[in-house]
Symmetry: C2
């Protein structure tokens, strides 16, 4: 693995912005950018037969990862996979019924099931690492490749509930009534996620992101104890560099805006933010330590292209002009505040990408003048 | 109406705490306290045939409102009704399928439907006002009665979506693409909600609460423009007093913790908070202007009674000892951060009520010593 070499990177804006270094415009990528809103994705998905059929086939995963880059001038690619591959490798049996969310065959709700959990053999996730290497080769240096995983808490939500939930009753019942079992699940998850992300880095991922999609459903106090602490445990184990390159680490907690100050102390490079957060305030709170990524409401993309542009400019303006010049300073990576909707008109995404690049260039030049 | 007279109030702790006056313990009530987790509620519901059958029958509505007070030593009653009665009176046709959420027969998605909206004749909501008077009489001064409505934005969510939603795609599409239409819906809703709450006050409600259940799904900036501004428009029209008594006004925005400072400027007496908010921080932010209501995670009630008590004490301690003595100061009304779950074991609620009263008395005495 250590002998692997890839083409040199042509667009390093995303990596630079993650590391709080200046760029000539604000780099942009979109959560779930390879997905159902693209007709070419739906065509590949139909060939693959199922979501897991798509995610576990290296050629298909490579193909769909690159599709949005062929349409739009995006500044990063993200591995096509799912946040729940790790519990699947633990033997819980992940599947996706058509038009529905993820579902596990087995659930973890009692002491016996918790005690049976262990960090899975990473060979069971070989298909992911092979996809990373294949995508990195196919990118041929166009933009950097982001690897990712669900956070320990978010994985636990699905492992206990067995599927998505409205109220998180089962996972919270376990958390409040058997905190000892919940801590054991989270410790296994954290070590598994760390091993998984490190293997992605070794396979070619140039940045990694932890999706704490359900961190925001917890009570104050519980979030710190059951989510943040285990995200920190993941971060502490991650490779800082690989083959001489720094590997930026991004943490995204949906609904975590109230805990931004605490997240500012995480040992990571960037924080993802959802649309409820004011980027100007967030910059004042944590911009001295972390790059900020976000945070357009994905529903904006259902408005007209002119309105999409207006809202994108508002997001850029709310952050303000990023750091320019040498050294480190406050930087912004443009993204949505959550995954792009499958109902999004693809041509509206073009308006977004063009506006973000043009307006963020103009902001920098206005300051220089 | 003005000639109506009711029995004198025996327990005014809830009203005093709303007005930031000292009480000997922290008053407590629970959102959705009259509901499906109680077997006696399910029995009445079965007799009524449907949710709306229950809500529109004065005797049944009175019966279920008082049920939790007979079981638990609660410090307030809340009208048994739904947050969506106003759009139902606008002619949209509200119904509740068994085991499902609310549904409207007609939806408001285009200019013609928006232009057809008007503040409904309050006589269509007579069943609500009759229930208020009947409940107030039946309470016979035991505890105060709270009236309520959905907020203008929350009503609009259901009016446009036609039902609950995962992503609020339709209502946000209208908001981003036709803000003019959204503003018109919200203006009508605000005036209707104000008339509705005033009629509840005239019928005997001793406090009123605006439920902005879906305010927290909006982007920063949009929340202020499309929710907060219309909640303020409601508040500006409300009766301040009725028959010589001050009528406290409570605003609860689920997921609104990030906008607490802005909500601190609302012309109301108390703010409801969900469990993501740290009560100590909230007190520091807005406790000089507003009483705070909340915020135990309803899922805590699935843990053992001992664990319920422990978590309840944590919530009380996070607020700290409330104001004591003369005049006004920071006060706390204990509640859940959202409605109680239908799966809650009723005996766990007893543990909660006893702990809140006992521990909050002890906190006050510890300070005096």
């Amino acid at each position: 693995m250590s002998g692997m070499s890839f083409a040199p990177l042509q667009n390093d804006r995303f990596l630079r912005a993650c590391l709080r270094q200046a760029t000539d415009y604000t780099p942009l990528w979109l959560m779930r950018q390879a997905g159902r809103y693209l007709p070419e994705y739906r065509a590949t998905r139909a060939k693959a037969g199922s979501f897991m059929g798509l995610a576990t086939n290296v050629d298909y995963a490579t193909e769909v990862t690159l599709q949005p880059l062929d349409r739009y001038d995006l500044d990063a690619a993200i591995l096509f996979s799912d946040i729940l591959t790790v519990p699947d490798a633990m033997g819980l049996g992940l599947s996706f019924a058509l038009g529905e969310g993820p579902k596990f065959e087995k659930v973890v709700r009692d002491e016996a099931a918790v005690n049976a959990l262990a960090v899975p053999d990473m060979n069971k996730l070989r298909y992911v690492f092979d996809a990373v290497t294949s995508i990195r080769k196919a990118l041929n240096g166009r933009v950097p490749l982001i690897g990712f995983s669900g956070s320990p808490w978010t994985l636990a939500c699905y492992m206990v509930e067995g599927a998505g939930s409205d109220d998180y009753r089962l996972v919270k019942t376990l958390m409040y009534s058997r905190p000892d079992l919940m801590h054991r699940i989270l410790a296994v998850n954290a070590d598994a996620v760390a091993a998984y992300l490190n293997a992605q880095i070794e396979a070619g991922a140039q940045a990694v992101m932890v999706f704490d999609s359900w961190g925001g459903v917890m009570a104050d106090g519980c979030f710190q104890e059951f989510s943040l602490a285990y995200t920190a445990r993941v971060l502490a184990q991650l490779h800082r560099t690989h083959q001489g390159a720094v590997i930026p680490r991004i943490v995204f907690t949906k609904g975590g805006g109230l805990w931004l100050e605490e997240m500012g102390h995480l040992d990571c490079d960037a924080l993802g933010l959802d649309w409820t957060v004011n980027l100007g305030r967030a910059r004042a709170q944590v911009g001295a330590h972390k790059a900020l990524q976000g945070n357009l409401d994905p529903n904006v993309l259902f408005a007209s292209p002119e309105q999409v542009s207006e809202q994108a400019r508002r997001v850029l303006d709310s952050f303000g002009t990023p750091h320019q010049g040498e050294g480190q300073g406050p930087t912004h990576i443009f993204n949505l505040g959550h995954g792009i909707s499958q109902h999004t008109p693809p041509e509206h995404v073009s308006a977004l990408v063009e506006t973000v690049h043009a307006h963020s260039r103009a902001m920098r030049q206005a300051v220089k003048r």
